[in-house]
Subunit: 406 residues, 4 copies
């Protein structure tokens, strides 16, 4: 194991990754570089510095990646109306490629030959981190301690921490959530605990970012969202940066009980797993984006996107953000967004995201044609006969040849 000289660790500052840092030093006899990022998880990242220093770590990277996260990952993904298995907005999946990229870039910058992360061997995150790392730095070594060590219980972990003077936040440790959680600016997720019984309803106290619809305000709130090329650039007329948009939508959605989800999903590694998610801002964005597309996108472009979306969602879920097929799909998706400009009016009320209006200077909605009133010749109803007749021709020929269609 001695051929690894330096490893960059995705370091949260928490117990697990602190133990990993120490374990890496010990097991591989290598230098550890820590990388801690603010991607909107809602916790201070600066405290990670002192903890890392306490373990003798010399190269410490602490970065605010929120704008990059939303601009280069969340927004491009939402341009495709991406949903995994009909429900999941991919909040965890979309953050991993950014972490993988920075791990690799820091490895380049520091001359490290390996990267490491705290994901377990049963989940999707290990795959996402590692596929990303391999795609961006093919010769990198990846160390996944959870697949290697025998510290496979909380007790062993605590014992290791105690033995190695790893500062444990005992107050926090004592009130440890029964759930495995992950958070970033797009969502917070919950797994484990009673959720492992898919018939058991999630407890109200589990949810952290949103109030329940029951506790949400009795008064609805209207918001106007402005789009440019498929991305939200302003809320209620106020221009905002990508991360600010998502932060504000999270606030609004959370206030109105929007964005809770409770599903059983299919992991890439082969098993089903129950997950609960809060994605308040994302839930609003998805509906609003569909609405702006509904008036600005050509039908066949929209249908083409819809037909490709499941594959695009699958590849993000599975960890292939950094892949040639994702890049190719993104070209197609982005091409369709050139005119996805305009405004959408949304009503938020007790868990509901209701689209009530949409308008655009690039609208393809032509009231003079769609109208039930006289259209002054904009559309010749007689054309419909030929349209139907020729579309029916193959069916008629088949029916005449005796084919049964019922």
């Amino acid at each position: 194991m001695s051929d690894i000289k330096k490893v960059v660790l995705a370091y949260s500052g928490g117990l697990d990754t602190s133990v990993i840092a120490k374990w890496l030093q010990q097991t591989y006899g290598c230098e550890v570089v820590t990388f801690t990022a603010d991607i909107g998880q809602g916790e201070e990242v600066e405290p990670a510095r002192a903890k890392a220093e306490a373990m003798g770590i010399k190269e410490i990277y602490i970065e605010d990646l929120r704008e990059e996260f939303v601009r280069d990952y969340v927004f491009p993904m939402f341009r495709a109306n991406t949903i995994y298995e009909g429900e999941y907005l991919l909040g965890t999946s979309i953050a991993r490629p950014l972490i993988a990229k920075r791990l690799v870039e820091i490895a380049e910058a520091t001359g490290a030959d390996a990267v490491s992360h705290g994901a377990t061997g049963k989940g999707n995150d290990q795959v996402r981190f590692e596929l990303g790392a391999y795609a961006l730095k093919p010769g990198v070594k990846v160390i996944a301690p959870w697949r290697e060590w025998d510290l496979n219980s909380r007790e062993k972990l605590m014992a290791f921490a105690a033995e190695h003077d790893i500062p444990v936040d005992f107050k926090k440790a004592g009130t440890k959530s029964p759930y495995s959680m992950d958070a970033n600016l797009l969502h917070i997720s919950y797994e484990g605990g009673i959720l492992e019984d898919p018939w058991a309803e999630a407890e109200e106290e589990m949810w952290r970012w949103t109030v329940s619809p029951e506790k949400a305000p009795d008064e609805a709130e209207y918001i106007d969202l402005a789009f440019e090329k498929g991305d939200i650039v302003a809320i209620n007329g106020e221009a905002m940066s990508p991360a600010t948009v998502l932060t504000e939508l999270n606030r609004l959605g959370g206030k109105h009980g929007v964005g809770r989800l409770d599903i059983v999903e299919n992991r890439y590694v082969g098993m089903k797993s129950r997950g609960c998610y809060e994605t308040p801002g994302g839930t609003i964005m998805l509906r609003a984006h569909r609405a702006i597309e509904s008036i600005t996108l050509d039908r066949e472009s929209a249908h083409l996107k819809d037909s490709l979306m499941p594959r695009y969602a699958e590849l993000i879920y599975n960890g292939y953000w950094w892949s040639p097929e994702r890049l190719a799909l993104q070209k197609l998706i982005d091409e369709t967004q050139q005119n996805a400009n305009g405004e959408v009016r949304i009503k938020l009320y007790k868990g509901n995201v209701i689209v009530v209006g949409r308008r655009s200077e690039d609208s393809l909605f032509d009231a003079s044609i769609a109208t039930f009133d006289d259209d002054a010749g904009a559309y010749d109803q007689k054309d419909a006969e030929g349209f139907i007749k020729l579309n029916a021709l193959r069916l008629r020929i088949a029916a005449r040849a005796g084919r049964k269609m019922k």
Copy 2:
């Protein structure tokens, strides 16, 4: 025009189709057979008999098709989690093939050589009626009066009615809704009027089947839905026929403000159109069906279905229910539903349809594998390394060859 001897008319009993009946008699000098069906539109169908008789019509078909409608059309469609353009549950689209089929069957039974309907030349319904008719009876003539006549305003229509002693329900006519509406057991739709401005919010008084979320009960309601082969067969433990299931879900959804939708959609005939829909029962069914699939469907079957769904939705929307490609897709879809059995628990609250639990004797959810606790060897985390390494191989080879993936 004299070569048509007898025409079967899809007859609602209302003003428009009464005018059509008379116009057909006059214009084509042919016998008219009326066909009026109860597909759950919520209006009496029996009154159509007297009206038809008053016009001298001798062959009058009045039928209750609600069970057939839900069992053979709505349920098969919901097995695919069918949504058009990410939002629309196809409530109008799915009723047309049944009407087309009965029109043709009645034409066979009565020796009629033509069928007729009251759909306009701008919409999708003409396509759906006529493609169905041609597919099932290739030699049939189709008469679409709205594409032929010059009665293209309400005034002309009323004048024609008056002139020909067509009984107009003046009270009703006087309070005519400003919207063009269509209803069946799956939904009610609204088009036209102020909806022709996609920025204008729909008026509260437009909605007919659901209360607003604001007016829905303050108390949530839990319901248990039992599935067999992808179809709901019982609610709260009580076995029900398909139409009864949907009727009851409509009642429950309507009571809790569930299933309103306001979209701009792309019509098959080429223009965009604003539509508002209430689909209370269908909205519940879709979420519940996804939930039962989430624990009983294999991942790749589920993803295959998801990838085909947009095409399946499109063909139903476009009117190709009676087509060989729909039949082929249905075979695939139905094959995936063999084990979609079990129960889903749903919480209804002010517009929200919240899945809170799902269980099945055919569940593929294996807690012993997914658990965050010790799994007693059910899953070897070391397998993940090889899994990732081989999945990454092509990316590493490409990266080594100098390919850029960011």
Copy 3:
């Protein structure tokens, strides 16, 4: 009909379009602009000038579009390995958008308000011409004489020509081919005549561009094709322009009996139709392109392209080259071709196009990994176990739950 002032006609100089020119002048009382293009059909275009002048036409466009045709239409299409219904290389389909574009551009330049073409009302070409024209100039009028007039037999056409002093090349007319033919630099097609019986073998004398395999040289010929970004840029080491590449490949393929095809295809307008095609150069290009991709394209990019190809082929066949969905797909396709560089060696022999070698500086073929010999650790066979185990996990869980997979 008097509202049309000037019409641009796609004019071949032959009898049919000469009659059309005259008929347009007469029927619409409008000015006619002729547009004649050399797209490699193998006939002189200059003689069209005198014929047009003889009819009093003042604005005459005669253009050599061969380079544009191959560079901007044929090559982009071949980047996708495009085949319609598993066989047809879309030789006719791909030429129509260029003609449509020039018709519209000339209409803009000359102030014409209409365009006209000589395609019949039963075929795909009318659709391709007109969809293109409408997409590029939405207010244009389209005149399709074959759908309007009653000159629906050769006799009537000849009579009209005689009556109006249209110069008919009687020698040519006398020996008129029994087939309806179309040619451009990509292919020549034959329809009609005895081909209308799909059981009848095409006559040897029908084929014009290729010798039969039987008459091809007994000696095979090897050629080296150099690719840059998916396009052929040199043959046997000699750099060539796009049209020169295709001309030379046609010569080589034709000489060796390559590229004959005899199929029944499904037209967009609803019927099946028998067509025979000679596509000597295109047949070579397709095989060679697949070969260069086989070593330079990532697997998932290749599979993504393959999965989209049928849709791309369909939209070209149906006439949607000028559409947002084609543009979006093209972005995806072109993105995949950035590294499709290198050389392919082909052996031509009596109808066979045999790929015998491929090499590239951008190759992803890594002999050190694929080798059956010792690979010096480049690939760890033990990784395969984990790969298989996790890929099998969902199947094992399903089987354990009693699912039958045979």
Copy 4:
């Protein structure tokens, strides 16, 4: 390793699997059951009995599976016109599921708890065998000696054989082919040796089943193939069983130099690999099947199949024959074949498979509509105008709104 009591080995009777049999006995101390199948590889299977007996093996299965192979695997696959990566007819891939199924069935019959095979750790076959085994018997143990042992060179293998008195056919061993080969009734494949350089042309002496086009007869041969539900049931009027059909087509194709292929393909395990294949009968079947479909399949059914084919091919290539998604796709495919009946006439000549005619009582080819001659009103050309106009509507609206489509 002592927990395995009995293992079923896919046993060819050759050196490698004989060594494996002995190695299993030694290493696992378990009983070995041998399973040898005739799937048309062209070698006697009966000699495997004596060899197995010589190693003290008591349970020996030797079976002729040729009919089952063609009927239940090859034919269903060809119904989809299945091709991997545009070229490969999946000859190796399609045989593996049958072997996997019999391995598992024999394990059930003999009470064995494990299966074993001789595939290496770099290829696709290990995946195909093992996914199949796990899907059909989820608790089975799989032993893949090539991933475990250190006999990773021919010398070590020979030494092991000598040491353990394994009867080596030295004559054969002395003239060992430089290629790694695999054969069954559908094809024979070659990998390794000089093929590892993708620029090197395959040597003429490598090919075993087909003559070169150069050496094929100078006289073409016509054959008539009769189809029922998509499968060939007779050749030249003579009814034949599935395996007899394929055997005869192999003879005919081989004689005329048909079916050689030289490609670089993408393996599921992540690397590219050069393979040469001879698939004489399959090459004929594919062309003929497309031809019978061309007159009997509805357009949209055909296009739906074409759009799904790449996914179907991929899953067979990757080893997922025994999976719910394959079963679901097969339902769709088989549904489309109900009318794929009739006859196809093929001309074979020096490597060419030329379709010259096709006819069927279930033909959808309607000469009266497609004809260039007068069609007596079967098709109204005026319908085309409406068809085009409505299909163009969205493009015109977009163009009017300023969208650029070129």
